[in-house]
């Protein structure tokens, strides 16, 4: 772990994009109710264009490459792309729903030296999982795909996004992952769509659900440590970075758009028109993201959670201000620790002074 921290620190000081996430397509064989993408092809990069981008990423020093979508295997050239990436010695992680993985694909993934495969599973119950993906039989096929990957001794991480429709199934998916020999990751965050449409946020679980997950030792490990009060905010925290987006990591869409992160859809340039390294080093948007320190955040800089909050600058950006709070992360910090955040206080104050607003849902009870 120490060597990984040194690697990150070195990449940061050298300005190297250590990790890049490339979505090779937004097309998908599932239609998950909470998905932040549209699934039409608006002109994906060709095989040659993607290979050229991979050459550029390798030259820029990228080490960790996540290939995802949409469903990455919807591209007929998916394995040609993966093979090319591996020939450039990237550490490759695949994100897939595993529906299209048969023995042949599992063998090939193994042979190509893929480090990890992340598979989305929403429920251990077919009627719940399939209702979310809108693909009948998808859970059965996903589990079969995971079994084939595990039979090749591949590392599989089951990502469990929790929503209203599967709020009760975290434990079931965790046990399923255990049975499959896969790692389990819980994620109670539903993000707005890339175009800013927030309609999918209706699927978000509420604070009580998140509180339940965060206080369940089977899901988070050491609850006392996970839910510990925030660390005192000192100068090193105030001078710290909000997250790695734009500093050691970024995202490239199937159309060549470069963002600081997949959850941070501010277009910094397009690799069809500019060299990746020029976008990375000189994009005004990337440099603006890069210039922000915790002390520069409008509300969060004065928050007691500043040193331990999982604040996502991309979610804050989609709420209207990349320097502002992310309400979803405020909620998480609050239910984790029971301590109110500066963002919650600001919203409460704003709501109480704004004329003409009608409260349509009771505010969460707040007790410090």
């Amino acid at each position: 772990m120490r060597l990984m921290q040194e690697l990150n620190q070195k990449a940061l000081s050298l300005g190297v994009p250590l990790s890049v996430h490339v979505d090779v397509t937004y097309r998908c064989n599932e239609r998950c109710e909470h998905c932040y993408l549209d699934h039409d092809d608006h002109g994906e990069m060709t095989t040659a264009e993607i290979k050229d981008v991979l050459d550029q990423l390798a030259a820029a020093g990228v080490f960790f490459l996540t290939l995802s979508g949409g469903e990455v295997l919807m591209r007929r050239d998916a394995f040609e792309i993966i093979e090319y990436a591996r020939s450039l010695s990237f550490n490759v992680k695949l994100k897939t729903n595993a529906v299209m993985i048969r023995e042949k694909e599992a063998l090939r993934i193994r042979a190509l030296g893929i480090e990890q495969v992340q598979v989305s599973v929403y429920s251990h119950r077919p009627e719940v999982h399939d209702a979310i993906t809108k693909l009948p039989g998808s859970l059965k096929r996903t589990i079969a795909g995971v079994r084939l990957l595990r039979a090749q001794d591949l590392r599989v991480n089951i990502a469990n996004v929790l929503m209203r429709s599967n709020r009760a199934d975290a434990e079931g998916v965790r046990l399923l992952a255990e049975e499959l020999g896969a790692h389990y990751t819980l994620d109670p965050t539903v993000t707005p769509m890339m175009d800013g449409n927030t309609s999918v946020l209706r699927h978000r679980v509420d604070a009580d659900d998140i509180r339940g997950y965060f206080h369940n030792p089977d899901l988070v490990g050491d609850v006392e440590s996970f839910c510990a009060p925030p660390v005192p905010v000192d100068e090193s925290i105030r001078e710290g970075l909000p997250c790695s987006a734009g500093h050691t990591s970024c995202y490239i869409s199937p159309y060549g758009d470069v963002y600081p992160c997949v959850q941070f859809p501010i277009t910094c340039g397009n690799v069809r028109r500019e060299k990746f390294i020029d976008i990375w080093q000189h994009s005004p948007q990337m440099n603006e993201v890069r210039s922000i320190r915790i002390k520069d955040l409008t509300t969060c800089s004065s928050c007691t959670h500043a040193g331990s909050c999982t604040r996502c600058p991309g979610l804050a950006y989609m709420e209207g201000n990349m320097r502002g709070p992310s309400s979803a992360d405020c909620e998480k910090s609050y239910v984790r620790t029971g301590i109110v955040t500066a963002g919650m206080m600001a919203r409460k104050s704003s709501a109480s002074t704004a004329p003409g607003l009608v409260q349509i849902a009771p505010a969460p009870s707040i007790s410090a």
């Binding site: 690697l7 591996r86 010695s89 990237f90 042979a111 030296g113 480090e115």
Partner: protein, 105 residues
């Protein structure tokens, strides 16, 4: 002295960062940082060039070290890298190993 051939493992990722070769094993996600000498050997490990030639032409040329000492150190190094799954070591060139269908020892 029996000749040795070394080949980079296909199950690792590698990148030079700030002049330092970083290697990560896909098998267990272990991260390694290679020394300068190990980096030279890693980069030259094409499975066809004998280790003795790599040492003579690359290691001795770049580092001020006698050939016999360099070779002994290189042998130990490649065995260690092999145990960590970063390199494969064989007594015959890897193209022949692959053609015969046998595993490297």
């Amino acid at each position: 002295m029996s000749e040795k051939y070394v080949a980079r493992s296909k199950a690792v990722a590698a990148r030079v960062l700030g002049g330092e070769m970083m290697i990560m094993s896909a098998k267990d996600s272990t991260l390694f940082s290679l020394s300068d000498v190990a980096t030279v050997i890693w980069e030259a490990a094409d499975g066809r060039t004998p280790l003795s030639e790599i040492v003579e032409r690359r290691v001795c040329a770049e580092f001020d070290v006698p050939a016999n000492v360099a070779y002994q150190d290189a042998e130990k190094l490649v065995e260690e890298l092999a145990t960590r799954g970063i390199l494969s070591v064989s007594s015959q060139p890897f193209a022949e190993v692959e053609r015969s269908g046998s595993e490297a020892p």
